[in-house]
């Protein structure tokens, strides 16, 4: 550990259970590659591929993998720059960029347990500011490649959803040949809005479903009402106007999604959103009650009785457990319980692991 005068930055690196302290020039941090080399050197892991992350001022674990986010990390660290290093093959991508208010403990525990195997994601998002849970692409393995299911997290952000829809027509392949059918399209994205900032929706994308309900046959006003009614947890399935950026499924994904054979195109049922969790659907359940002019409180769920319909949705689920669409498949249509769902993070029994692997959807 080196004490440094001002202008240098105290840095604490952690790899597995080992800590290293060193210091950096705050004003001249250098390039990411140099920093990466330095870490390998300091931790004495010269030939190990690692992922580097840091804890930002909000307490979020954000990645360092290019010059930009490296500089951001150095410039914002105060007073200490905490670095987490993981072996690349062990890396838990889901730990990154999440809302640490609820997740902190899990983040650390996951990172600290290198034996918690996770698959590599295909898209490495690099800019730190993108690591807020604003949107995600879900159900890639069960949708046709030409479709994209996008989830917008209005919850927790004050950004407007920021898009408009319009009537239009699209061409469908039917048994009778090509047919022009009416459809609903995204007509405008508001600059700075949630929809635009995610980059997952674009003007002229055709809207196919809203939270698992097909929009065909519904009027523009109906679809508008459905979207607004679901606005706190909006899942839109679109056929992107630009089909070049589609996620292409390949052998690697099919290995990880054990269900891909029976959810492939012919068996594709539009009415099931695989990653559609009733308890999250109930994020709008957060009605507030103020009793006797007191403090506002969230309305609790009534204790479910045996005949209650709601018993299936009586789950106090940790919000973090379903981030980014990581959810064990086996859970999807079952009755959730808090213990079950967080299993992904809590249980690290090597025997169980292999069983789970086949049931995890990976982006």
């Amino acid at each position: 550990t080196t004490r440094s005068p001002c202008g240098t930055l105290e840095t604490k690196g952690m790899f597995g259970a080992e800590f290293r302290r060193f210091s950096l020039e705050r004003t001249k941090p250098g390039k990411f590659e140099e920093f990466y080399g330095l870490l390998q050197h300091v931790h004495k892991i010269p030939n190990v591929e690692v992922l580097v992350g840091y804890i930002d001022i909000h307490g979020d674990l954000l990645p360092i993998n290019n010059d930009d986010n490296y500089h951001k990390a150095v410039s914002t660290a105060n007073p200490l720059l905490r670095i987490f290093i993981q072996r690349k093959e062990d890396a838990d991508y889901s730990a990154f960029g999440t809302d640490t208010m609820t997740r902190k403990k899990n983040v650390l525990s996951n990172v600290l347990r290198p034996d918690n195997h996770k698959k590599k994601p295909h898209i490495v998002i690099s800019m730190p500011r993108d690591f807020r849970p604003v949107s995600s692409i879900i159900d890639v393995d069960i949708l046709p490649e030409t479709h994209r299911r996008v989830r917008l997290y209005k919850y927790g952000t004050d950004k407007p959803l920021g898009f408009y829809i319009r009537d239009g027509s699209s061409v469908r392949v039917t048994p009778h040949g090509l047919e022009k059918v009416p459809g609903i399209f995204i007509s405008r994205l508001v600059p700075g809005g949630l929809a635009q900032s995610t980059g997952l929706l674009a003007v002229n994308d055709e809207v196919l479903e809203v939270n698992g309900i097909e929009v065909s046959g519904k009027s523009l006003d109906q679809v508008t009402d459905m979207m607004i009614a679901n606005s706190r947890n909006l899942i839109i399935t679109v056929r992107p106007a630009n089909q070049r950026n589609n996620v292409v499924r390949n052998s690697r994904t099919s290995g990880s999604s054990g269900q891909s054979t029976d959810t492939s195109l012919p068996g594709y049922t539009p009415h099931t959103v695989q990653n559609f969790h009733p308890e999250e659907d109930d994020s709008d359940e957060d009605d507030i009650i103020i009793e006797d002019n007191g403090e506002p409180q969230q309305i609790p769920k009534a204790v479910p009785t045996s005949e209650s319909l709601e018993s299936l949705t009586q789950i106090e689920l940790l919000h973090d457990s379903t981030q980014n669409g990581f959810i064990p498949f086996s859970e999807v249509n079952l009755c959730h319980s808090a213990g079950n769902v967080s299993m992904e993070y809590e249980i690290h029994d090597p025997d169980k692991k292999s069983l789970e692997d086949g049931a995890i959807i990976t982006l």
Binding site: G162, D225, I288
Partner: protein, 979 residues
């Protein structure tokens, strides 16, 4: 996970659902929109009205109604009954003829279209050659004579509509023996009138537009008499004895022509311009009705002096020295005279005149002195003043019913007591199962009470709130009282008056307590009136109070209308509902919700700014609550700013239309220039309809708008003690609950009513709250105030825990009470994309099991669908499409009854009645039978109701458990005249 997948198919429940629910549109009440033709059968005593949308409606004795619709939806131009048959022929504006029949099936008559026919000329002939102008069904029932624009009269056989070409009466044949000089003046003439000789069916009278009238001998196919008129002809009429014909003309004259032995009549016997000498408008139709003792009745339409009265819609009746020009409120479509229909009778002896005007039906009693109007039992003009709201009260106690009728009869004293003259057919429908009132609020500040128990919607009583206020137009000052010697002798008849003196008087909300006779109505300018029923006339000062809903919101200026000025001096009120207290909201925004608790003597009201509670016993404001979001400028400023934005959007859309029009014109002009073409296209694409997708926020406009108010005696604070409470729901998804302390009856006047806010629930989805309901321990909705006290409902279960049902536009949620925890919900918008527009609790009885009934929610969505949702488990039971989703005013006007029926406006003047219940169904069932009809049944055979053989149909008339207790009602009404 998906609720609609979960409750799959329970066969027992499915069967029960079939016994409970059934959707029927049963009858249309009110006055047909845009009537275009009138027909009458003196033989059947039935009247037929055709409309511009192709509907025909037949009316006879009260309860006898039939409806038909032409597929083409074209305007019905003429309706003619076939003499002596249950058949009629209609002519549409596409020149097609349609034959309709009343056919009996399983004991009741049905109106069916049998044949259709379009008259076609030889190929290449102009369309005018076969354009039908007049239709004459011959008394032989075998043929129709069709006068055309070409001047030819074609003959078609009935019922086949086969054209009998050899019998065509060509204009050439008619003109053969007309003097040369007379014929030369007439190049082209259309047939204006066809009339059969009253005594000799072998002769028909043909009138041509330029004035020529001939009597045509059907057997010899030649003209037997010529009447060489020189005035442009409008219509013809035979005197009953066949000795004289009357012609009426475009210049406002009518002429009598003798039918003598002379082959040629050059001049009329007498010609008269009744409203001359200055130029007059045409007389378009005339009746000459003989009487046994005295001069004839001459009845004609039009003929008013062109310059000064040319705009009047008049029909004049002249009888000896008596003459009245009835002045109608809207254009006269047609009229007929009810008289002795017996062809053998010597005289006509007219008894009544029936006039179809564009907006109402007026019947004049010609037998009684002064020719008073007859109060129609149906075809009421609902839109006399535009309907602004409606309220339905089921199962009215007899006592209240009688008092309302008695108050109404005093208002209707100017009507004739003649029995309804159109009395054909027999009503077979069972007596209405209960007495129902439909109350309509109107733009002019009136509330009309309709008997909605049966097929005929009848006005019982009209209440006006205008007297309470000082308005510009004093209702008492008569604008132009007619002097004795006024000429023409005009007399205004009819009640259609669409012009409101002051739009602030408009009625927006109504609530009637059928047990106590308390009525509260609220209006456009924030006025709330509480009234009670008093059988005596009264003169008193209406107490008044102000409710400042903005309270501490400072610095905002209300830019809407001013509040109404209340009269400070005593006001005279006629017997009926008399206001005793007026509350005026400040700012005077439209009242958006209203609730009355007649037992606690409290009235709650809400506007876009907040809500308040008023104690009408002590006449004291209990509290007000401002619900306004401070940033909600729109709601604060009032309706004007909305107008502005509407104007703006209108301007924009006009601009868009103009742009696209310009561009399309451009395209036409410069078709070769593809660049322009593209520009135009692009421009069109720039302006598609788009919808913004945004979550609702607390800052949205009109979140404070109070949508619903509800009184309940429930467990608000703790589960051991229940207390009175007031619930309010806003547009922004907030529910407020106030705990009320109402002093016991003996100290009711001494202690104040207190209120304290106990809960505030903010629904996260922030959708407007449209309904609040408390369910008792059994999951049954709490009864209405006084319902239990009058022994008409079981006491609510206060042992089990109560539940709160909040209905927002988007979803239904059940919460536990007193601790508010969410228990159940049903999402509507998120799954189906529709929103709740109307919601009510309705009791559905089983048509199979006498004493089974259950409470469900009936809702109407913005797409016009009706859904029934079970209580308390919120399961969708059934869904019916009811109203077109484009029919916004229809959806907005819908009102449900407590027993699964409903009403909505299909036009400004008509309610469609529908039923969701298998058990409570009010629909016409009647029979028209030719056998029963004798030649001289013109005497009013009472109402068909009485002679009806009551073949009650399979509607079970038992009322179920709750209802059977209601039969011994009546005395329940506390005499509320204590002023």
């Amino acid at each position: 996970m998906r609720r609609f997948l979960r409750h799959g198919h329970d066969p027992v429940r499915e069967r029960l659902k079939r016994d409970l629910f059934q959707f029927n549109k049963t009858v249309e009440h009110g006055f047909p929109h845009q009537p275009s033709a009138l027909g009458y059968s003196p033989f059947l005593h039935l009247m037929a009205i055709g409309t511009r949308s192709g509907a025909i409606k037949l009316y006879g004795a009260p309860g006898v109604e039939f409806m038909g619709l032409h597929e083409e939806n074209n305007t019905v131009m003429q309706i003619h009954f076939i003499p002596g048959q249950c058949q009629l022929v209609t002519l549409l504006d596409d020149n097609s003829l349609h034959l309709w029949s009343l056919k009996q099936r399983s004991g009741a008559s049905e109106l069916q279209e049998e044949q259709r026919f379009t008259l076609r000329g030889p190929p290449g002939s102009p369309p005018s050659a076969t354009q039908i102008t007049v239709v004459l069904p011959h008394s032989s029932r075998e043929v129709l004579y069709l006068g055309t624009e070409s001047g030819n009269v074609f003959v078609v056989e009935l019922p086949s509509f086969r054209l009998l070409e050899d019998r065509t009466i060509t204009s050439e044949a008619v003109l053969q023996r007309v003097p040369e000089d007379y014929r030369n003046r007439r190049s082209f003439e259309l047939v204006e009138a066809l009339r059969e000789h009253p005594r000799n069916p072998g002769h028909i009278l043909i009138g041509y537009s330029r004035g020529l009238i001939v009597l045509w001998d059907l057997h010899n196919k030649r003209v037997s008499r010529h009447f060489l008129g020189s005035q442009q002809l409008e219509n013809l009429f035979w005197q009953k004895d066949g000795h004289q014909i009357i012609s009426c003309h475009y210049d406002g004259s009518y002429a009598q022509w003798p039918v003598s032995n002379d082959d040629r009549q050059l001049e009329p016997l007498e010609s008269k311009v009744p409203y001359g000498p200055f130029p007059c408008k045409a007389i378009s139709k005339i009746y000459w009705q003989t009487t046994k003792n005295g001069p004839p009745y001459i009845i004609f339409q039009g003929g008013m002096p062109r310059a000064s009265y040319g705009d009047r819609h008049s029909i004049s009746v002249v009888h000896g020295s008596q003459q009245i020009a009835f002045d109608f409120t809207s254009r006269v479509i047609d009229f007929f005279v009810v008289c002795n229909a017996d062809p053998a009778a010597e005289f006509d002896d007219p008894s009544a005149m029936v006039v179809l005007a564009e907006e109402e039906l007026v019947v004049i009693d010609l037998k009684s002195a002064g020719w008073p109007a007859v109060h129609p039992p149906y075809l009421a003009s609902l839109h006399c003043s535009a309907i602004t709201c409606s309220h339905h009260v089921s199962n009215i106690p007899l006592k209240l019913w009688e008092r309302v009728i008695s108050a109404g009869s005093k208002q209707n004293s100017h009507y004739s007591d003649m029995p309804w003259p159109i009395d054909g057919g027999t009503n077979l429908a069972p007596d209405p199962p209960q007495r129902d009132l439909l109350l309509t609020g109107h733009e002019d500040g009136t509330v009309r009470f309709w008997d909605a128990s049966g097929v005929c919607l009848r006005l019982l009583y009209k209440l006006s709130t205008v007297r309470v206020f000082l308005t510009d137009a004093d209702p008492n000052d008569n604008m132009n009282p007619l002097g004795e010697d006024e000429w023409p002798p005009l007399r205004k008849v009819g009640s259609f008056d669409p012009y409101s003196d002051d739009p602030r008087l408009g009625i927006q909300k109504i609530y009637l307590c059928k047990y106590s006779g308390y009525l509260t109505v609220a209006g456009t300018a924030g006025q709330i009136l509480v009234m009670e029923l008093n059988d005596e006339e009264s003169e008193h000062v209406v107490d008044h109070a102000e409710a400042d809903l903005l309270q501490d919101q400072e610095g905002y200026k209300w830019k809407g209308h001013e509040r109404l000025k209340a009269r400070d001096e005593p006001v005279r009120f006629e017997p009926g509902f008399q206001p005793f207290v007026l509350v005026q909201c400040q700012p005077p925004a439209v009242v958006t919700s209203l609730a009355l608790h007649s037992e606690w003597k409290l009235v709650a009201f809400g506007t876009s700014h907040g809500f308040g509670l008023f104690d009408h016993q002590q006449k004291r404001l209990v509290f007000v609550k401002c619900t306004l979001h401070p940033s909600d400028q729109l709601a604060l400023e009032g309706p004007l700013s909305r107008v502005k934005s509407l104007k703006k959007s209108l301007r924009q859309s006009f601009r868009r239309i103009r742009r696209s029009r310009v561009s399309s014109r451009k395209r036409r002009v410069q078709e070769a220039n593809s660049k322009f073409d593209q520009d135009a296209l692009q421009e069109m694409e720039l302006a598609p309809i788009q919808r913004k997708i945004e979550a609702r926020s607390a800052e949205d406009s009109f979140t404070g708008f109070v949508r619903t108010l509800y009184f309940a005696d429930t467990f608000l604070r703790d589960s051991s003690r229940h207390c009175p409470s007031l619930w309010a729901g806003t547009n922004g998804g907030t529910v407020y609950a106030f705990c009320l302390r109402v002093p016991p009856a003996e100290r009711r006047m001494d202690e104040p009513v207190r209120a304290e806010q106990a809960k505030e629930i903010q629904l996260m989805h922030r959708a407007p709250v449209v309904g609040i309901l408390v369910l008792d321990g059994h999951g049954t909705p709490l009864p209405e105030p006084l319902e239990v006290a009058h022994d008409l409902s079981k006491s609510p279960d206060m042992q089990g825990s109560h539940q709160l049902l909040v209905v927002s536009e988007e979803q239904f949620k059940v919460f536990t009470l007193p601790k508010v925890s969410s228990k159940l919900k049903l999402k509507l918008t998120a799954l189906e994309g529709c929103r709740v527009r109307k919601v009510t609790v309705a009791n559905f009885g089983s048509c199979k099991t006498e004493d089974y009934s259950e409470n469900n929610l009936a809702i109407l969505t913005n797409l016009g669908d009706i859904q029934i949702i079970s209580l308390p488990f919120l399961k969708l039971q059934i869904r019916y499409p009811c109203i077109r989703k484009e029919d916004v005013s229809g959806i907005a006007s819908c009102v449900f009854t407590k027993y699964g029926q409903g009403f909505y406006l299909i036009s400004p003047s008509e309610f469609e009645r529908f039923s969701l219940s298998t058990k409570w169904l009010v629909e016409p069932r009647c029979v028209v039978d030719t056998q029963e009809i004798t030649g001289n049944n013109y005497l009013h055979n009472k109402s068909g109701m009485e002679k009806a053989t009551r073949k009650s149909r399979v509607i079970a008339l038992s009322y179920g458990e709750r209802n059977s207790r209601r039969i011994h009602v009546g005395h329940g009404l506390s005499n509320g005249g204590g002023k």
